[in-house]
Structures are given as C-alpha cells and as structure tokens.
Symmetry: C2
Amino acid sequence: MAATIKDVAKQAGVSTATVSRVINNDKHIAPDTRERVLRIISDLNYTVNNVARSLKINRTHTVGLITPAIAEDFFMQVAQGAETVLRKEGYTPIICNSNEELEEETARIRLLLEQQTDGVIIIPATNRGEHFDMLTSNHIPYVLVDRVVDETKADAVLVDNINGAYEATEYLINRGYRRFGFLGGDIEHQSNARERFVGFKRALEDYKIELEEDLLKYGDFHERSGYELIGSFLNNDRAPEVVFISNYYMYVGAVKYLIRNKDTMKQPVYLASFDDMAFSEVNGLPSLNIAQPIQEIGMEAARLLLSRIRGEELPYPQIRRLKTRLVHHNT
Amino acid sequence: MAATIKDVAKQAGVSTATVSRVINNDKHIAPDTRERVLRIISDLNYTVNNVARSLKINRTHTVGLITPAIAEDFFMQVAQGAETVLRKEGYTPIICNSNEELEEETARIRLLLEQQTDGVIIIPATNRGEHFDMLTSNHIPYVLVDRVVDETKADAVLVDNINGAYEATEYLINRGYRRFGFLGGDIEHQSNARERFVGFKRALEDYKIELEEDLLKYGDFHERSGYELIGSFLNNDRAPEVVFISNYYMYVGAVKYLIRNKDTMKQPVYLASFDDMAFSEVNGLPSLNIAQPIQEIGMEAARLLLSRIRGEELPYPQIRRLKTRLVHHNT
DNA sequence: GAAAAAATTGTAATCGTTTCCACAAAAACA
DNA sequence: TGTTTTTGTGGAAACGATTACAATTTTTTC
C-alpha cells in the first residue's frame, strides 16, 4: 500500500539502486537525477522501510533499555538521559519493563535479541547475571547501570556510592551530629546498598564515632520498608539525632511516616538520604540529600554502549563511576 | 553469526519451510519432526529474526507511544498501563519523547512510520493535529490520549473532566466553602483545561455562587505557573478559602509555594486539584484530589488500538471517557 | 582525437523469513 | 485392491531494501 523504493524508481525512470543511493546520500550521483528522485519521493510520500533496510544491512539502529519499572522517577530519568544521546546519534531506544523480576528480565533480553537490537542497556532487577550471557554469545554489547553483578565482567555505569555516603556522613559529623541511625538496603545482594553502607561506616570509623547495633536496620529499598523501619527508631530515649537512609524510596517512606506522626513525635529527627528527586524538596522536612547525576548516568551508559556498537577499541570491562553531590533542603 | 532458520533446517535435515512451521506452531507437522527440530533449535540457540519475519508478514507487532515527556509521572503511568496490555497481547511498545514540541512529535511519527509500527498511541503535545494525517494515509491506526484536537476526527481515550471538576466543586460547596479561587490551564487551546473549567463553573452556577474575576487565573499546566500564580491570591483580605487547581503540576508548584511561605501566611488555604499522584499525599497539606485512573487510561488506549490493528468493526471515532474519583488527603 | 580516468547508473544477488503450490506417502474408504 | 482423502514435506517466490560488480557515459589528459 505504502510506496516502496520500486515505485519511486519506476516513476523516476531509474533503477532502485539509484534511488537507494539518493536516500543514503551517496556522493556519486548526478545532481539532476538526485533532484528528480527527491521530487518523486516527496510526491509519493515515500518513507524508507526500516525493517527491510535493517534486514539487509544487519543493523537496526535500535537499542534495548531494560528497567525494573517504567513509571519510577529514577529509572525514567536514566531512560531520559539515554534517550537524549541515542536519539542524537540516530538510534531508537526500546524501553522494556522487567518488573523487578529475573524471569521477566530474561524474557525481555530474549525479545530484544529477536528484535535484533544493536545493544542493550540494563538496570538489573536482581543480583543474578547468567542470562546476560545470551547477549554475549550473540555478540550484542550491553551496559549495566546503577548496580552490578560482578565488577570484573561487564561494562557498567555506576555512581561513586562509597564516596557519596562518606562525604555526607562526614558533613553530618562536622555539623556536630553524633548519634546516627542507619536505614539501608540488602547489603548481601545489592552492590549499591553495600557500597553505601561501606562509605557510611568508614566515615564513622575515621572519626571514631560509635555505631550502635540496634540503630542499624536493613530494608529492601522500597517505600514500605522505609515507612516501617523509621518508626522503630523513634520515640524512645535512645533515638538517633540523624538517620542516614541509603535509598530514595525508603526515604520517601520515612518522610511519610514522619509527616503522619508529626504530632506524636517527641523530638525532630534530621534525615540524610541518597538521591535528590521530586519529593526531597517538597516534603518540607529539613534534609541532606546525596544527589546522583541521574540523567548523566543514562547519557554515559548510552555513550559507552555506542562506543561498543561502533567497535571502538576499549579495554574490558569499562566501569564508569560518576560523582555524587550534596544538596540541602529546608534548612 | 547467529544461527538462522537455514542452519536449523540443515542440521535437522528438513527444509526451512518445515522449521518455520515448527516455530509458528503449524498443526500439520509430524510429532517426531517437530521434536527433532525443536531440539536442534535449542542446541543451536536459535532465535527467530523478527526483522526478517516482519518484512515478510508485513506486521511488526510493535506499537509506537509518543509522550510529551519521558520521566513524568502522569505520562509514564499511562505508558505503564499501555505496556501491560500490549505486552500481554504480544506487542512491543516503542516509547518516544516529543518533548512537548510539535516538530519533535512530527519527527517521531515519521520515525514510527519508518519502523513500520502497527499502530500509535499519542499523548499530544499541542493542539495541532494535521501531522496525524501521515498516519491515516499510511493506514496506521492511532489513538489520542488525555487531550484531543477535534473530537469528531480521531479515536481518543479521555477522562470525564467536566464531571470530575463538577463533582469536586460540588463537594466543596457542600462542605461550606463559598470563596473560590481557580488556577487553570490554557482553556483556549487545551481541551482538558477547557473541560475542567467548564465543570468547575457549572457547579458554581448551579449553586448560585459568585465567581470573582480576579480569583480566576490561567497558567500553562506547569509547576512554575502554579508556584507563581498561587501567591497572587493570598495575603490580602479578599483571599479565597479554597483554590481549585486544574492540573497536577500547577498543584505541585502551589504546594511548594505554600510550604516555603508557610510562616508568613495569614490563613490556611484549602487546595482542590486534578490528579492524585505521588506528591498529593506526602506534602502534608490537606487537599481534595480528583484522581484520574491513569494506568487504566493507558490500558484502554492500548485495547482500543489493538481492536483497530486487528480490524475489528467499530464506528469512527471511538471516544472513551473514563470516570474520575475523589480522594482526600491529610484531612 | 584516442586512450585513460572518473563519474554515473544498472543488474542482480542477498538479508532471514513465510507461504503458496505441488507432490509423495499414509490412511480411509469402497 | 484401487481410489480418494488426509497428512507431512519441500521448492521457490516473495517482502523492500543495499551493494558488489559491471557497464556505460562523460571528462581529462597528452
């Protein structure tokens, strides 16, 4: 139904080869043929069929992006960053949702393989990575984002979690805080949760500050666990002066708890937390936030992936760590 | 490099036709050949090449989704809803970003045309719609979401804005509020802004409540305008008791203003606003929110589009309006 | 003005599938 | 047993582009 290259060729009285050359800006074409062909193209409203082209040239100029959740701020900002650079380089991202499930992640990889994407950016849902081998064995480059399974294996774009946590903690210490609470993630299985804990602890050690075991709680980086855990700290005589929260969603949960219970709260608690996103400012509570350059993470991941796709020579693996930044709210 | 259907055929000692039949679950195939072929497929780690398949069958099982902004809550919830039903039906969404720009929206449509998507879901960035004709003339079905250019022309999934605004206003009236402020959008050019205003005004009229001209302000549905406009209402003796805000982002702006200036505020103002998203609860201010079934909008759009793709007989155009729901926060 | 070089165009194979058509073998029927 | 029907399989032509190679025309060079 839609016009094909053949229709254009016939109308213009040339071969499809010539039309193809015009489309692809081949230099060796006579100016007047080029012009004639272009006119017919616009007359017929012809657009190139990318699926045919992709089949022939064996590249699709598409890149898969697997995220644990569409519709979550952090992931979509990464996606936005990636989209910006991919688009500029003529690539189309295909955003997929793993729903924080290993099997879905695997299924999406399979899908992207079928779709012949030229590369994949993955924000891993779990700490498993065997299924990435499917990509390797098909020679599809991929880049991990935000967390990593095994640092020696795959390209990754991360944030300097250790340093970010250290700086924030150090800042708090210098401001005179001594009694710390800590709300972390799964330090067993999640690289970023672990690193943030390390940075936090190292700062306390360097400044010889005691860390009480019962002021140390581990959740799962979800809002609910922040909401539930923060409560257990408060309203007793051993409450911390400041709580270090190592993830944004747990921070949101904690904030919600504090807002809901502000009338019964004995004393204010200061919050320090990873990430600086929408909520961090609007909730009205004073806090120290460790801002990740989220969009930049996505952009860097896209850049790295494109280098791989283009076959540029880079040692394996590339681990890029971006710097965090401290932000103050409502103080 | 990757195994093709030919490799499988050769290994299994059958023709590519047979392999294809196995892949596509053709009924007329001998059980033992099927089994043999399946074994080879798994041995060779074969995956079908969808770009070749798409070329042949002239369908890609992909659907474009054009949104004015990736990384904005509302749009991504729509996307999430759409993704859920598309995925279940074997379709892959390609999410594109128009950046709230007409030209980019046009460019994305052109891209999706080249990619041969089977249909497109569009959250329009502007009130222009001529470029949608490119889709029509290529026989690609499309569905508009959230706002509409001309109701008589294209399929659309919307929300019953008039009724939603009316109900909320009526509720406020019944609660005794009489002095209303209104923060709206561009009622000239944006269908949803207009409809919400109509519902609001109609309720006031029905209850014979005066609407003062200088308590009526129009912004642009962005945070900044909410922030700036709310201030002009307050701190004078003619301040409204309640402000009806017809968009979430303006609401967020207003909330930020109120939080920042809470110390200098003479009297509290109650907010009523369209949408009920992340901020609505956490900001701590009491408010009445008009919740749209955002994910459901995306799901319905996907369902409608799939009906069109499948060629089901439905009168043109289909305009589906979903109901809103009132939600109370911090009261 | 002829030979060589450069520029322009066409022919046809190819990418990896699907599917129409033909056909052989097996099953059902008489 | 011979005929018809059913079942399973293969051959080969598409789908719409790109591109190596060849062929032709034009330009340059001496």
